[in-house]
Symmetry: C2
Subunit: 337 residues, 2 copies
DNA sequence: CTGAAAGCGCTAACAT
DNA sequence: ATGTTAGCGCTTTCAG
């Protein structure tokens, strides 16, 4: 291999070392290393420098660079629950990819919703001169903005704070609800139950609104008795089975995939086939389950990756100065409809 | 609120500003801000400085600090799949918490296993003067170490590379397999089937070894016909149902929770009750499913959080100079046994 | 007890 | 076409 693998042991190779080795000044090295636009460097000199760089295994010190340039290449991401859900990971991933694409690096902090930790995390990011901070939650909700966030540019991801003036990137719950319902409508169903969550949230109201809109567009009267409450877990879906059976629905839109999973069990116990006897669509497109249920669950995806990516785009000012960005929730068709 | 909220707009408050405001030198400010051990600073001076800091809303510039100190407070974490699994998130979380505890900050990079991205990520970390790198995978396996990793301290997390000399932190698969089996043994089962994965891996061989050990310790002869192959997904578990029924087993240890989930379906279709008719244990303790199956699944947890945390401890030299750290997989008792 | 000054690795005018 | 020279914000001897 080439290079002397400096970096371990003796001090790291600096620009000055390269300059000395190439017999030029550090300014010259800086110019060739950064491929400066208006940099008139002789071909031979350039080559000498490049050789020295390769020879010594030189690596620029990003910290020194940002210090002298004044602007850093960090973007902070504070998340409330990296661990407890598969969702946060997708947000990180999207943010990561997008940041990278623009030459930025993510500084991630997990706070588990603890305000103390949250403040420390934000402080740490500020001390690292982040360009701005993405504040994200693992499920879509309204939040109280931590005071410290006002000290830098902030964009809210998967959450919002009305009146805070902070831009927010959130999933389009209403469109999602509409989409889910339309999938069922398209399959010919007219009597569609909606197993909605019992927890007040943008998801609860948004998806319901979407459900109604879809129905109306199809010329079907909204029937309140078709929207059934369910604790948003497998247990809730299972428990709701008698209700959906009694409702006479031929299809059901579940608040999320876990509810659908519970409902599958309940339906199966009653000898019903999906989708022959009754169709089911979920919401979230949760990896571990949706694709592997029997039959694989048709659902609507929560666009976490996109939320993260859009978040950094907004932070970088690439989306204009929007107030709220709503990201679409696309349908994922499998075999339960 | 106190402080003038500098940091937005006009240039950030520097140490020099504080010094000027307090009528002292920057050296003095540095001393009081960092609470330097051998720092003889008069009480009044100290207070003047502290007041100025509060007044101006001064924040130390972490980048400048590390530049002048030479050593950075960054630890890199490169992961192959933040997005596709809930597991990686736990590793990050554990690493994050532990790093934080020691005053370090995590630089996370997701590579999706792409070698090109991987190299860029490592380069970026090196340029940011990380103290070392945690290289992690989302499932336990042997890897080929990227060349670039040799340029800094590295610890492998949830993977290993024999002969590389790099320390590795991995789950104790054998103990896990033993534990799972023992849970069944303890419930009185003697004829225990093992639905093992068809994919060669430390998990495949380790868990099998643990299963055998547990059986032997209980004085039960190993019966090859009881270990059945299963694709490590719900589908595999479902498909294996006839086999376990034919085996005459009264309990089954599944290679992972998803297999158990599929098996649940298969068993239920055959009118079998869990655990009355047949007991089931899984492996992984996968959040979204294990706790919510009916009945909730007893399983063995993959200690991802601990892997991440132990990884940084090893990197910081807090664990002595170990070669391989095996982290225990604890049983999680629910209601399927 | 406090301040002056050198320097960390790099960039960016400004000279040459 | 290349070199000189200031800094960037902070730490750290070393004087006073």
């Amino acid at each position: 291999m080439s290079g002397t693998d400096q970096g371990r042991g003796g001090h790291p190779v600096t620009m000055r070392d390269v300059a000395k080795a190439a017999g030029v000044s550090v300014a010259t090295v800086s110019h060739v290393v950064n491929d400066k636009p208006g940099a008139r460097i002789g071909d031979d000199t350039r080559k000498r420098v490049q050789d020295a760089v390769a020879e010594l295994g030189y690596r620029p010190n990003a910290l020194a660079k940002t210090l002298s340039q004044g602007s850093s290449r960090f973007i902070g991401l504070v998340a409330d629950a990296i661990a407890t859900t598969p969702f946060a990971g997708q947000i990180i991933h999207g943010a990561q990819d997008e940041a990278w694409k623009h030459g930025y690096v993510l500084l991630v902090a997990n706070t588990e919703g603890n305000p103390g930790v949250e403040n420390d995390a934000i402080a740490m990011m500020l001390e690292h001169q982040v360009l701005g901070i993405l504040y994200s939650t693992w499920f879509h909700r309204e939040i109280a903005v931590p005071e410290a966030l006002h000290q830098t540019d902030t964009v809210l991801v998967d959450c919002f704070a009305d009146g805070s003036g902070l831009p927010a990137v959130v999933p389009d719950e209403e469109q999602g609800g509409r989409t889910a319902t339309e999938e069922l409508l398209a399959a010919g169903h007219r009597r569609i139950a909606f197993l909605n969550t019992t927890t007040p949230s943008p998801a609860q109201s948004g998806r319901l609104a979407g459900y109604r809109t879809a129905l109306e567009s199809a010329g079907i009267a909204f029937d309140e008795r078709l929207v059934l409450p369910a604790v948003p877990e497998q247990e809730g879906g299972y428990a709701a089975t008698p209700g959906v059976l009694a409702s006479g629905a031929t299809a059901v839109f579940c608040h999320n995939d876990r509810v659908a999973m519970g409902l599958y069990d309940g339906l199966r116990e009653n000898g019903l086939q999906i989708p022959a006897d009754i169709a089911v669509v979920g919401f979230d497109n949760q990896d571990v389950i949706a694709a592997h249920m029997r039959p694989p669950l048709s659902t609507v995806a929560l666009p976490h990756y996109e939320l993260g990516a859009a978040g950094v785009r907004v932070l970088l000012g690439l989306e204009g100065d929007v107030e709220t960005v709503r990201v679409a929730c696309p349908p994922v068709r499998r075999q339960s409809v």
